[in-house]
């Protein structure tokens, strides 16, 4: 192999990592050159409260989401109770509802003047005390309902491959089913539980929309406010850097929780073990838990949204909506294609070169899931401002070239969601074993034919999944869109933010419903694949 051949994949990988690199460098550099007076003010008035709020929120959400996710996964994977077959996929549906949608539906219906408390006071009298929804507990519950599916999905996979089987082994060694759950099933699922919990922590740290609805100040809202309220990019950058440190801490804890174990998947073709029958009251308790989580996380919000959307549709559904939808779809489509293209480049780069530079670049390029959107937004704007300034000194003239353009938006999306496309594409590449390539070459296929007749068909499913996932994620995305969009470029998610900021809940329902419907697509795809895998086993 010549040196240029080795060199090219590394360069390609670095090029793909550039957006993320630029953003990170901009944040670190910008934050270090901050205004000391402003920082003193921040430390005194803002920082402690924001940091405390964020940490409490993450601990609360991760705890509740982990408990809910693990319990529900255990019930649907290893037990038998009324409605189990339905709930085993239906409990994933809350994934389609963004946390901010769940948040405003909860606040709108459960706040003092909301429909539910009004009805309850009507029945039980005005003196009735109800726990306030606009509280720390309220935000935690809403984010936990939005986040538990991550833990559910991971834990369920672990329980299905190992759980019921390990439980039989434990039984043959003298442990009852409930002892087996705590001594065997949960400990052995630990890496998956830790992985699911880490995803929930990332989502919670990154959440901007839901905490905004609750007026609950965290790092993300503080970044937004110091930007739009104080017009202080330095403060925003400083907060962004602190939030990144918190993310790193959460990831380090996940590493610890995972332990040294890295469990290989169980052998394929394992006969699934008999389910544990929950009879009588126990079965109905399991049903009650699954049904209430499903109702609160999906069914009731969906019904409320549909009702409100119907009420305002006649008034609101005009040509403006077509432009929101058109902008959203074109942005999401563009971002999906870009992310896919870069993921393919990265996939080929890491396939042809296992060098350290390539691997490191791949790591950086796919950091997006850990970097909150609000952080990325300030990074993107800072990086582009630097480039604009550079351009002005070189070429002269005034104004912005890149800042406040669609390019800025796409840069942010790529940095955040490249990792989403990378997963399925990489999974596709993993299926193209070297022996297949060798076999194709042995049959006389040229490089181009290998790509066309071997790679593309095998990557096909991964490419489709990558496009769909990025598309839906961009549709839901709020902070990057809000903070870097060109003037007047409102998308559906921005519309939701603006309507909820004004408390116009009903008018936020229409764009929310569109987002939820689009969000259902990947969930349906996921459950369809799960069913197929279950049938194959």
């Amino acid at each position: 192999m010549t040196s240029s051949q080795r060199f090219t994949p590394a360069l390609a990988a670095i090029a793909v990592a550039l957006p993320m690199l630029a953003v990170l460098i901009a944040i670190v550099q910008g934050a270090s050159g901050g205004d000391t007076e402003l920082w003193a003010h921040l430390r005194e008035w803002v920082l402690a409260r924001v940091a405390w709020n964020t940490v409490i929120l993450v601990i609360g959400v991760v705890t509740i989401a982990s408990l809910l996710g693990t319990a529900l996964a255990w019930l649907t994977a290893a037990c038998e109770f009324p409605g189990r077959a339905f709930f085993s996929w239906a409990l994933l549906l809350p994934m389609a509802v963004p946390a901010y949608v769940l948040a405003f539906v909860a606040v709108a219906t459960l706040d003092y003047a909301g429909a539910v408390p009004v009805a309850l006071r009507g029945w039980f009298g005005d003196g009735l005390w109800l726990p306030p929804i606009r509280s720390t507990a309220g935000v935690i519950l809403v984010l936990a309902l939005a986040g538990y599916p991550y833990v559910y999905l991971m834990a369920r996979g672990a329980f299905l491959t190992h759980g019921a089987r390990a439980l039989e082994a434990a039984q043959s060694l003298g442990l009852g089913p409930w002892q087996g759950l705590f001594r065997v099933a949960v400990p052995l699922a630990r890496p998956w539980l830790a992985g699911g919990a880490a995803l929930v922590a990332m989502e919670t740290l990154a959440d901007f929309g839901a905490v905004s609805v609750f007026n609950y100040d965290t790092f993300t809202t503080a970044i937004y406010q110091s930007w739009y309220g104080l017009f202080s990019i330095e403060t925003a950058l400083g907060l962004a850097l602190l939030l990144l440190a918190l993310v790193a801490a959460a990831l380090a804890i996940e590493r610890l929780a995972r332990g040294r174990a890295r469990y290989a998947a169980s052998d394929a073709g394992v006969r699934s073990a008999a389910r544990l029958g929950l009879r009588g009251a126990r079965g109905w308790i399991a049903f009650g838990l699954a049904a209430s989580v499903f109702a609160l996380g999906f069914a009731l919000p969906a019904v409320v949204l549909a009702q409100w959307a119907w009420q305002v549709a006649a008034l609101d559904l005009d040509t403006r909506y077509l432009s929101y939808a058109f902008r959203t779809v074109s942005l999401a489509g563009l971002a999906a294609i870009l992310c896919l293209a870069l993921a393919l480049v990265l996939g080929y780069a890491t396939r042809f070169s296992a060098g350290r530079v390539t691997q490191a670049a791949a790591r950086v390029a796919t950091l997006g899931y850990a970097v909150p959107g609000a952080v990325l937004a300030v990074g993107v704007v800072t990086a582009l401002a630097t480039i604009d300034a550079l351009w002005r000194t070189i070429a002269g003239g005034e104004g912005f070239w890149l800042q406040g353009t669609v390019f800025a938006l796409l840069l942010g999306y790529v940095a955040r969601f490249l990792t989403v496309a990378h997963g399925p594409v990489q999974g596709g590449f993993a299926r193209i074993r070297p022996a297949l390539e060798e076999a194709a070459r042995g049959l006389g296929l040229s490089t181009r034919e290998v790509v066309a007749r071997l790679h593309l068909p095998l990557l096909g499913a991964g490419i489709g999944t990558a496009l769909l996932l990025v598309f839906v994620d961009v549709m839901k995305e709020m902070p990057i869109t809000l903070m870097t969009r060109p003037f007047g470029w409102d998308t559906l998610a921005v519309r939701v933010f603006e309507m909820t900021a004004e408390g116009e809940w009903e008018r936020a329902a229409l764009p929310s419903l569109a987002i939820v419907l689009a969000g259902l697509l990947p969930v349906i795809l996921l459950t369809w694949r799960m069913e197929r895998a279950a049938r194959a086993a």
Binding site: H162, R165, A166, E168, A169, A170, Q171, S172, L173, G174, L175, G176, P177, Q179, V184, P187, L188, R190, G259, A261, R262, Y263, A264, S266, D267, V270, R271, A273, A274
Partner: protein, 346 residues
């Protein structure tokens, strides 16, 4: 401890997976259920372990009813060790902790000593700290056996224990497993579809078909006096030649009149199929009977020939490997059987 099954039945959706299964494994012996997939052998094993509830019949261990009308002992209280097909080792525990897992009531030092003793018994004393995914398939299998044996169970069940292993290690491991079971004085029941595994491990073997036990016997007897045509076909290699009963113990065949070598209780004139094992048909250049070589497989010490008899029936025969004959050649053969089995033609 003695295991006894009495008329055990289990069906799924109206289809009988296990149909009136009765058997006895005496204490300290190793039994085996052999049969093709879908013959109900695994269901029987899981019923004994307590993972499936029989629809009818009784399962007794050492005289205690584990499962009977009105009696049910849950699996965790049966004291029956199980080696699973996929081993089902706990992936979060190392080898030693896996083996010690079932020794919950014992004192710490005793648990450790017993677990070490068991790992030593299966030849893995130097692998105690390995996690399951760090062990080879054969090693995982032996850890699973050590784990099942550690609590001194009344009975050890092995579900297709070698099916995930390479052919080369299988026979070796089967011998080791047998040695370990014998060393522990364990009563055991194995389930497999591979007769060589069954022969290597078991004292007694039951052949199952469609949920029923066709024959329960010592390996030698299964091979040489199969009770049914299915057993004859399933166990070992062989072929059938036609014959006509002439009288008590006398059958006429194309290989001559066979006398006194078979137990068949049919009236004269009945058409029968006689089972010929490859070692019943001897290559003999001096013989007047000839057959044509149709296929030959060199097996080192022997040739295995497939021969076409005058009637067109084919039969297998072993010959010492210096008897090298080409395909199409006609060679002399003679019958050399101590005992032949015949089944009436349908």
């Amino acid at each position: 401890m003695r295991l006894e099954l009495r008329e055990v039945c289990k069906s799924y959706a109206g289809i009988a997976a296990v149909d009136r299964l009765s058997l006895i494994v005496p204490a300290g012996r190793i039994g085996c259920l052999l049969g093709p997939s879908g013959s109900g052998k695994t269901t029987a094993l899981r019923a004994i372990a307590g993972f499936e509830r029989p629809d009818a019949g009784e399962i007794l261990a050492g005289g205690e009813a584990l499962s009977a009308p009105g009696a049910w002992v849950p699996p965790e209280r049966r004291r029956i060790g199980m080696v699973f097909q996929d081993y089902a080792l706990f992936p979060h525990l190392d080898a030693l902790a896996n083996v010690a897992f079932g020794l919950r009531d014992a004192e710490r030092g005793i648990r450790r000593r017993r677990a070490l003793e068991m790992l030593e018994l299966v030849g893995l004393a130097d692998q105690t700290a390995k996690l399951p995914h760090e062990l080879s398939g054969g090693q995982q299998q032996r850890v699973a056996l050590a784990r099942a044996l550690a609590p001194r169970p009344r009975l050890v069940l092995l579900d297709e224990p070698f099916s995930n292993l390479d052919a080369e290690v299988r026979m070796d491991l089967a011998q080791q497993v047998r040695a370990a079971l014998v060393a522990e004085g364990a009563t055991a029941l194995l389930v497999t579809h591979d007769q060589r595994e069954a022969f290597a491990i078991a004292d007694e073997i039951g052949v199952m078909r469609a949920g029923r036990l066709e024959q329960w016997d010592a390996p030698w007897r299964l091979y040489h006096s199969p009770a049914t045509r299915f057993v004859a076909d399933f166990v070992g290699e062989g072929s059938f030649i036609q014959g006509t009963v002439l009288g008590p113990g006398r059958v006429s065949t194309e290989l001559g009149i066979i006398e006194g070598q078979l137990t068949i209780d049919q009236p004269a004139g009945t058409l029968v199929d006689l089972l010929l094992r490859p070692d019943d048909l001897i290559h003999d250049d001096a013989s007047e009977l000839h057959a044509e070589v149709v296929e030959r497989v060199f097996r080192g010490a022997q040739f295995q020939y497939k021969l076409r008899l005058p009637s067109g029936t084919t039969a297998l025969s072993f010959a010492p490997s210096h008897h090298d004959h080409a395909i199409g050649e006609r060679i002399g053969i003679r019958l050399d059987a101590q005992h032949l089995v015949g089944f009436p033609r349908d």
